[in-house]
């Protein structure tokens, strides 16, 4: 039996795929479409439930109107999240069958658990959204709680898999396959995934919060500023504004985990060519294969940030052969983009919190609202950049130091055709979602006898 599996493993391991790059881009494209929707899966149910809870507690029907409207958007985005997520699980097999065949026994558990989270989420989101007016108010509120919990556990389990791919363990390698695996400890006894999860969780609130708030900030700029818009903006913007500064702290933690577990990735993030004692940090600039040129150098900062010691030695890219290095500029540029945007968003958050808490009002300057409108798309870019940092920074390994991406890819032909088709389909999807949200914003408020929009 082992012999047969060894040949099976062998047959599923050696590959000669001309279109590896397209396969990678196809995976990246699908993830880029899915992940912003995931943010809504993480954060939106909690925001909706907060509004409904507020309504139940105070009887202020404005909050009910708000929760109800948002819950419809939530359902539509969930549906799109479901289908794009399904594509991802298909793609794992379509693009990386050798990876799945040889290692899915280790990490598959994470996806099995995730599957149950999705079940719970899908069941209760149906009950919640279709149950408005039909279920008793308290029961209705309760039916939303599993949605919020499952949105979080769902992402937790997926990220446990990603954490394992970045920091694999819990199995023995035999002829290119994982044997003797211990899935529970591989996934959840893995120190690496906790920062990824916390960071993604806060990112969920940042992305969903700023995007939703952006819609109402836009309304402010167009002169629509009733109690409805003010309240909606307050709830969404507060979530994002609190998460943004805290994200910087979590990001620092992430960077230190990377420094200790994936020194090559850290060197790529910073463009550190040679192993250096008291390594400097470079802002902007370009990595020319040895050094960062045209950047702003801050002496010793990297050592200080990564190891809390200005004289610490930081491993450079030269510690591994070129064939084991990720594409440095892609990783570095993504990382700098994320950190730059993250700093900006944190700033917006702090300004908002200060005005809101100190003066007990919303900011008045149109410039603030312009910034919020911009912050939505920027936070999505930061999200993409963050995942690019993590995933491209891991290259050329699909499983860090265990399996190369070249060994994981499918031998099937036709990847470019699939890639092209998928691009067209996603463009149509994006157009559809944009159309839907636009139409949505024009549907009149229900039960607006109280004139929330202008009051």
């Amino acid at each position: 039996m082992t012999a047969l599996l060894a040949t099976a493993g062998g047959a599923l391991a050696s590959v000669d795929q001309d279109y590896l790059l397209q396969a990678r881009q196809m995976q990246a494209l699908s993830l880029a479409v899915h992940i912003p929707l995931v943010c809504f899966g993480i954060a939106f149910p909690a925001m909706v439930l907060f509004c409904e809870w507020r309504y139940l507690r105070t009887g202020d029907t404005l909050f009910r109107v708000l929760a109800r409207r948002w819950s419809k958007v939530m359902l539509a985005l969930f549906a799109v999240g479901v289908v794009t997520g399904t594509i991802l699980s298909f793609e794992f097999g379509l693009l990386w069958p050798a990876f799945m065949a040889n290692f899915a026994n280790v990490f598959g558990l994470g996806f099995t658990l995730e599957g149950f989270s999705f079940f719970i989420e899908a069941i209760f989101i149906g009950i919640y959204v279709y149950g408005w007016d039909r279920l008793p108010p308290r029961l209705h509120f309760l039916s939303g709680i599993p949605v919020a919990i499952a949105g979080v556990t769902g992402s937790l389990f997926v990220i446990s898999v990603n954490g394992w791919m970045n920091h694999p363990g819990g199995f023995t390698l035999q002829e290119g396959r994982a044997v003797n695996e211990h899935p529970w400890s591989a996934l959840f006894g893995n120190s690496f995934f906790w920062h990824e999860f916390a960071h993604m969780y806060f990112a969920g609130y940042i992305v969903a919060g700023f995007l939703v708030a952006g819609a109402y900030a836009w309304a402010f700029l167009r002169g629509r500023w009733g109690r409805y818009e003010r309240t909606a903006l307050t709830v969404a913007l507060s979530a994002a504004a609190i998460a943004a500064p805290l994200q910087v702290v979590i990001g620092d933690w992430a960077a230190r985990e990377v420094a200790s577990a994936q020194p090559t990735k850290l060197a790529a993030l910073e463009g550190l060519g040679q192993t250096t004692q008291g390594a400097p940090e470079h802002l902007l600039g370009w990595y020319n294969g040895h050094d960062v040129v045209y950047g702003i150098e801050i002496p010793r900062l990297l050592s200080l940030l990564a190891f809390h010691d200005p004289n610490a030695t930081v491993q450079g890219l030269n510690a591994v052969p070129i064939s084991d290095q990720p594409p440095v500029n892609v990783v570095r540029f993504s990382f700098q983009t994320m950190v730059g945007i993250g700093t900006l968003l944190a700033l917006i958050g702090v300004v908002y919190l200060y005005i809101r808490l100190r003066h007990r009002r919303l900011p008045g300057s149109p410039w603030f609202y312009r910034a919020v409108v911009l912050a939505g798309p920027l936070s999505v870019i930061a999200l993409w950049a963050g995942w690019t940092t993590t995933e491209v920074g891991r290259q050329p390994w699909i499983i860090y130091h265990v399996m190369r991406t070249t060994d994981a890819v499918t031998e099937a032909r036709g990847i470019p055709v699939g890639y092209g088709t998928l691009i067209v389909v996603y463009l149509a999807l994006a157009a559809g979602v944009a159309w839907l949200l636009r139409r949505f914003s024009r549907v009149p408020l229900e039960g607006d006898q109280d004139g929330y929009r202008d009051g």
Partner: protein
């Protein structure tokens, strides 16, 4: 025929596949009927609305069965998953595209009644509701007829799924979906008291039931000439028993629908379809792919055990939730009908100042401890404490920030500033 540990996850997969075929199959069928609306006593628009509303609260949950099947397959039988997905890349990709188009068009169409641009969207929805089950059916046919060898894209990329068995099973998948949907939609119309819809869907159920039955017989004939091993399995031992159950349940359903006993018809229609899945499994046992038995394909004991534990624990949550959902749906509690007015509880509370101060102090303290511990500590427990503090800080600050603002100080938008 004892069941070994290696076979338990396969039992989960088959149960999931049966559930997917019955539940999501009916959703696909609903899509088919939106395309074939009209011609009966009920108007086109009514048929479409009825089909669409009926799947509203459930289709996402029904869809998750597919995810469940995929993830259990790749966890417990990774080599099988890798081989199937690489050889059958084309139909799997077609199914994937169908799933995106279908989900997206449903979400778009469903959220907005009577919007412009609904016709093309409706057609995308209907066509993808046919494409997806057909493509998935050809995948089943490819596996069942032994055309997926072990290996990375080792089978023929085209004939593995474009062959008589695959095509006829693809067709059967579309037809059974239509049949299930018609039965369920007739039952829903009966519950809603919509006479014309009921009559219309009853006729559709009878017609598509006959079609599906005929196609199933044709499929047996095709399988006999195209996939002898499968045919042998289907006509001996457990295989023939399952085929017999399916046939009997199919005939019973036709009778029940004809007598307008829609409740029991739902159940027997589901049984007829689930029995086909069981029959396939029994016919193929213990082979999963050519030359690969289920014991050889299975992951090691610890993974199987982990999967079994995960599914068992998951089922404890899942089964009551699903029962709740279906109960609410079948009793009409989630129907899109006019709603009783919501009761409005008491008037807003006034904010309490003392509480606010305490909360502010708590937020500040957790911020300091959280940041300090996360950034400076190296011990795992201290960092965990730090992160927990940061979450607590986020929550308490949120409570502070979302307290009702002072309306007299509200900003005016630029346009209203005179």
């Amino acid at each position: 025929m004892a069941i070994g540990m290696a076979e338990i996850p396969m039992a989960f997969i088959l149960a999931g596949l049966a559930a997917y075929t019955v539940l999501a199959g009916a959703d696909f069928g609903a899509g088919l009927w939106t395309l074939l609306a009209g011609g009966g006593p009920a108007s086109r628009a009514k048929i479409r609305d009825h089909a669409r509303h009926a799947m509203g609260p459930v289709w996402e949950a029904n869809h998750v069965w597919l995810i469940f099947v995929l993830v259990v397959c790749w966890t417990a039988y990774p080599v099988v998953f890798g081989s199937i997905m690489s050889t059958l890349a084309i139909p799997v990709f077609l199914a994937a595209v169908g799933i995106i188009l279908r989900g997206a068009s449903y979400a778009l169409r469903g959220q907005l009644e009577a919007a412009r641009g609904q016709h093309p969207i409706e057609n995308v929805f209907a066509l993808s509701s046919i494409l997806t089950p057909f493509a998935l059916g050809t995948v089943v046919g490819a596996i069942a007829s032994g055309r997926v060898p072990v290996g990375n894209a080792a089978g023929d990329p085209v004939t593995s799924w474009l062959n008589p068995t695959s095509v006829v099973i693809g067709g059967l998948a579309v037809a059974t979906g239509g049949y299930l949907a018609a039965v369920y939609l007739a039952a829903d119309a009966h519950r809603l008291g919509e006479r014309t819809l009921e009559v219309d869907f009853r006729a559709r159920a009878l017609g598509s039931g006959l079609c599906a039955g005929g196609l199933a017989l044709a499929a047996l004939a095709v399988v006999r000439s195209d996939a002898a091993a499968l045919f042998h399995g289907l006509t001996s031992d457990g295989g023939i028993a399952a085929v017999g159950v399916s046939a009997a349940a199919g005939l019973t359903t036709l009778f029940l629908v004809w007598r307008r006993r829609f409740g029991p018809a739902r159940a027997s229609a589901a049984l007829a379809v689930a029995a086909i899945v069981a029959g396939w499994a029994l016919a193929q046992r213990p082979r999963v792919l050519p030359g690969l038995t289920i014991d050889q394909a299975a992951a090691s004991r610890s993974s199987l055990l982990a999967t079994i534990i995960a599914v068992a624990c998951g089922a404890i949550l899942l089964v009551p939730s699903l029962l709740l959902l279906f109960r609410l749906v079948l009793r009409g509690h989630l129907d899109p009908a006019a709603a009783p007015g919501a009761t409005v509880p008491a008037a807003p509370h006034a904010p309490r100042k003392r509480q606010t101060h305490l909360l502010a102090a708590f937020a500040a303290a957790t911020f300091l401890v959280g940041t300090g511990a996360t950034v400076l500590a190296d011990a795992g427990w201290a960092r965990a404490l730090g992160v927990i503090c940061l979450f607590a800080c986020a929550l308490s600050t949120f409570a502070l920030v979302t307290a009702e603002p002072d309306p007299s100080r509200e900003a005016m938008p630029p346009r209203n500033r005179g």
